[in-house]
Symmetry: C2
Subunit: 725 residues, 2 copies
Amino acid sequence: MPDIGKYLWPKSVAVVGASSDVHGLRGRILEIILSHPFAGKVYPVSRSASDVQGLKAYPSVDALPEPADMAILIVPAQYIPAELERCGKAGVKAAAILSSGFAEEGDAGKRMQEDIATIARRYDMAVSGPNSEGFSNMAAALCANFSPASDKSAGPLIPLRPVGRGQVSVISQSGGIGFAFVDRARPRNLKFRYVVTTGNEAVLEIADFVDYMLDEGETDVFLLLTEAVKSPEKFKRAAEKALRAGKPLIIGKIGQSKPGSRAVASHTAALAGSTAAYRAVFDRYGLIEGRDFDEMLDLAVGFLASGDRMPAGRRVGICTASGGAGIWMADACAAAGLEVPILDAATRKALDAYVPSYGTTQNPVDSTAQGVQKLGYAEFARLVARSPSVDSVIVVITARRSAFLEADLPKLKDLARETEKPVFMWTYTLPAERTVEILNEAGYPLFTTAHGCAGTLQKMADYRAMRALILHQVEAAAPAPDRSNTSAVLVAAPGVICEYRARPLLAVYGIGSESAGQLVHSGDEAAAAAQAISGLVALKVQSADIPHKTEAGAVMLNLGGAERVRAGYEQVLDAVRRHAPAAYIDGVLVQAMAPPGREVILGIHSDPTWGLMLMVGIGGVVVEALADVALAPVPLDRASALALIGRLKSAQLLGRFRGNPPADVGALADLMVKLSNFATDHAERISAIDLNPVIVHAEHNGVSVVDALIVKRDDRSAEGGSAAG
Amino acid sequence: MPDIGKYLWPKSVAVVGASSDVHGLRGRILEIILSHPFAGKVYPVSRSASDVQGLKAYPSVDALPEPADMAILIVPAQYIPAELERCGKAGVKAAAILSSGFAEEGDAGKRMQEDIATIARRYDMAVSGPNSEGFSNMAAALCANFSPASDKSAGPLIPLRPVGRGQVSVISQSGGIGFAFVDRARPRNLKFRYVVTTGNEAVLEIADFVDYMLDEGETDVFLLLTEAVKSPEKFKRAAEKALRAGKPLIIGKIGQSKPGSRAVASHTAALAGSTAAYRAVFDRYGLIEGRDFDEMLDLAVGFLASGDRMPAGRRVGICTASGGAGIWMADACAAAGLEVPILDAATRKALDAYVPSYGTTQNPVDSTAQGVQKLGYAEFARLVARSPSVDSVIVVITARRSAFLEADLPKLKDLARETEKPVFMWTYTLPAERTVEILNEAGYPLFTTAHGCAGTLQKMADYRAMRALILHQVEAAAPAPDRSNTSAVLVAAPGVICEYRARPLLAVYGIGSESAGQLVHSGDEAAAAAQAISGLVALKVQSADIPHKTEAGAVMLNLGGAERVRAGYEQVLDAVRRHAPAAYIDGVLVQAMAPPGREVILGIHSDPTWGLMLMVGIGGVVVEALADVALAPVPLDRASALALIGRLKSAQLLGRFRGNPPADVGALADLMVKLSNFATDHAERISAIDLNPVIVHAEHNGVSVVDALIVKRDDRSAEGGSAAG
């Protein structure tokens, strides 16, 4: 394993391709490094100059007075493999490749990128890029990049009055975006530790740097930006490690839209992958997704300022002196999914002493300007934070002038020290610089958008809850099914395993009943089978060549009476013969109609990046009309299955509905766990499983798996996609 | 009608309650007025001082050397009515009442507020407030308020280099929020004309000021903020006038959430009203809703900078030199509902000359840093704007340094002059002040959030399309139904008009068939009626006492055969007798089952603020599970009805679906227009109408109204709410 410490904390740096022309990137990077008080040695390497920006230059990396710990390579792409090889031979242990023109430029570039990986492996070097923009180590004052955000004139590397006590690190595939975080965070006084850009990730990926920084223990909050995750298992390991350590990973996933993912493909030659699958993985590991700079920085500010003090729930108390601004904040809280409950009587009574009659103590508590003059923001917030009705407090202020807050500073500090509940500040005017400092000094995050403030609180409450859920997961003590036998049957089965063959396989894992109905081969047999069943029956043609039965007319439902069953038998076979004349037909399944209940779709499919995912959706029409499905990587436990169901917009269809009792959601969750276990155990053979529909009966009455289909993985290709029954 | 010109453009202002103590509000307001170069006369009125802040003070408003054009009243609430009366008698034509403690404070306050309205009417005075924060007239340099945003030190009233050529006015019920717009807009260089705060709106409402400013013709974009609209008809008139004039109304509606509307009630003692109804009215009149300061200011910047040049469609071309930032913008565009199509071959060929091989000309066009160095932003944007594939262009820049843009300035100005398509700029770093100026000078809006930039373009495209739709509306040439007879029947009918009585009334307007089925009074009659119908029948108990038939068990569907119909007759009557023993039953309706199709819910209900609204939703389950309904005020024309259907999330259920042909959406729209005409004609008698369900058949096969119910307005109270069949 290469040593990322050599990359981030080098004692000596070679800049290969360094130039004295500071208008070009090759000159700018050296200029920026030299402008900061980096204590290590810097060696310009230049084939043409013996002096670069006042430093002695060396003709080659192997001509340095000592092997440099790391090298920055900024020469044209075609020279990079040879240059990296030279670094390896010379004992350089790390390299940042800034040049473009690799995998994003076609096959030749792709091969060069593979060469880079091979060379790095050979010499056990920590290599980032190509197509990266370098990195900054703020603590070491090493800015090995050419971003304007690293200009000396842009401001100090470490803010004088940082928000909170912790540090934040940025790890971004995109160089421009990575350093823009630093630029945009300046008015927020975030203390950055590292900014690392990873580019095409030929060797080191975002997860490698996360892993290093978690071990180091100096980064408290991560801002990640990814176009595509290359090594999903590595990513999941790092994510779980961060979750256990309680270090939030705030992540931006770019390329989620159609034009965006098209651009990712041409930008770093990576597959953007399914947005839904990425979301599912983020949810599973407690990553917090942000959709833009502001949302992600708001989250970083919130987490840094709050430290371990995260909201225990979603109930917020709002303190305001402006009625209108307080109402707008209440709307923002509700939109974010927070609650703004009416406060308890004791708290309201305590507030009454300060709030004039034209204000209100409900919540939002509108003290009016007069009330806050008497109370001060600190005392106001303290009274509300004390209420047992709330888990956190938002104080609406106008931060245009600092004088009033300045006078309140000692009390604000006391409150920040003592409160168990996060207290956030939102200013509806633009803040004066001094106001931000005062609040940061006192220990409060300051937000300028109501939605950013409310959204951050909500996501912090979610993070806390999600973390508790995941850390307390217990392995379901399922009876160990006979895996090896199932596996052998799977190997022998055809590519499309239709219902009558799939049922016994799934039943081993407790999914559905082993035999539901009878396979028949004539109209008379069908009629006889139907007669043995009380009530109406379904007929389903069984054929590995017909995975999409409904489209092929291969299903008839609700048949009663020998005559209709016999006629139905001929009808489904006729339809199938017209639709797929060459299909080999195993027979027709005669099955009792399932007792009534809520219709659910359960499935497994394979995502090109993340592998097998479990999918759940309610009601055929709702799923189709609104694409309302929820995804999770397998395996998943019961609590996660219940959480997944709860994430459906149409989840209330499973509750008390149109006079029906609630559906047996527990049984549905159990079924999901079993299906996820089946998929996990046989992942290497499964491309897709459809249980469509599953009927969820009323509480305590369980579920009926009405149809089942398994599509095996095509060994000749990494096939994805879902099948439909 | 009072003269708002006297309010906004007074030649002389009396400050009643003025004080020399500039730490109090009564001193601050005078201090602020005097600090700006207002050319008119200012008269302090004080009962205790003869000199206030160096000006001669007068003991009363009737002791001034001349009648002041307007008075600012900032004395305790209980003195306000007498003071306003004195103003009226003295010939003062306008007044701003800043004091709090009126309708928001209970019944006594409410009565005082009514007194204010009476006095204002008596003297025909233009009165704003109470509980307002005054106003600013930037052109007159009159800042009659105590907001920190009006401090001389906060910056010039009119920016040196404004964005665009137009002016924006703020009209806000909330004082704090109203002036915060000015504060937060400072870095954006918006040229404000007026900021007016209206408080409790005892007399003048937001719509009155909009109307005045439209007549004046100097305001190009409006930023409105409302808690509750008091006079809906006045509001609608002003909104339509603005739409015809092409002056966008950007509106924030606060109090949309449960806690928010609770706070509105206690803040200005107004009903926040139904959010959905507000949205429907905004949609109908082309108002553009913004959810926070930033979104509203982004919209104002976009409209001001673009003038009449609005995007003709939703297709955007993205120019970027940072791959990652371009992708993020593409995601933001897709999220906003914009399209980012691959560019045409000719445009891509023209770009190829500048874009290196590791960039891309697809869209986003990633020129890489190298490409943009060659091209410059102006030429880059010009090439993309020329593409027939796009309606607008977004240029992704880094505005941290201004030098590069400065060099490009002449070309940028040329492009801004010549282009027919809006060109927006988004900076992913924070902009230098000089960059904003350069871009504003050249005529470009600059955005700092990708979502704000994309969302503004999308809403501008929507505004253009919506305006065209509304301005080209033609009155449907419906055959004038016999209104007076219908009206007479309505008057005579019971409060709940069940189906067999409602059908003939609705049929006059072409809604459903006059007679669908037969009213019977015995099982035998029912069986006979069923026999006369080929196919299955429905039975429905008809009773004015049972509006909710399904809950009462008063409906049976799909009955066939005399025996089952006879038994069904007894069954529904039994159920009804158990459910509502005292109900008077008119009979049982025997009806043919409707041919199959897509199930739709159509209804009319009464909103407490906006009156009768038409509601449409698709599919019983979808409506109930996801509350996916769309609302519009009545009347509405065919194009608006079609647009309303299109707004449903589940609209695709009416398209080609599960092998079914598309539904007859045109016939549904026609039915909606007819229902809206019925409701409009008889608005004073209607509380609710339910057509639930309507079955929409396949294209060209029309609709079947399967059930109908009219609930009359209860004359004793302003009843709202919907009924269900």
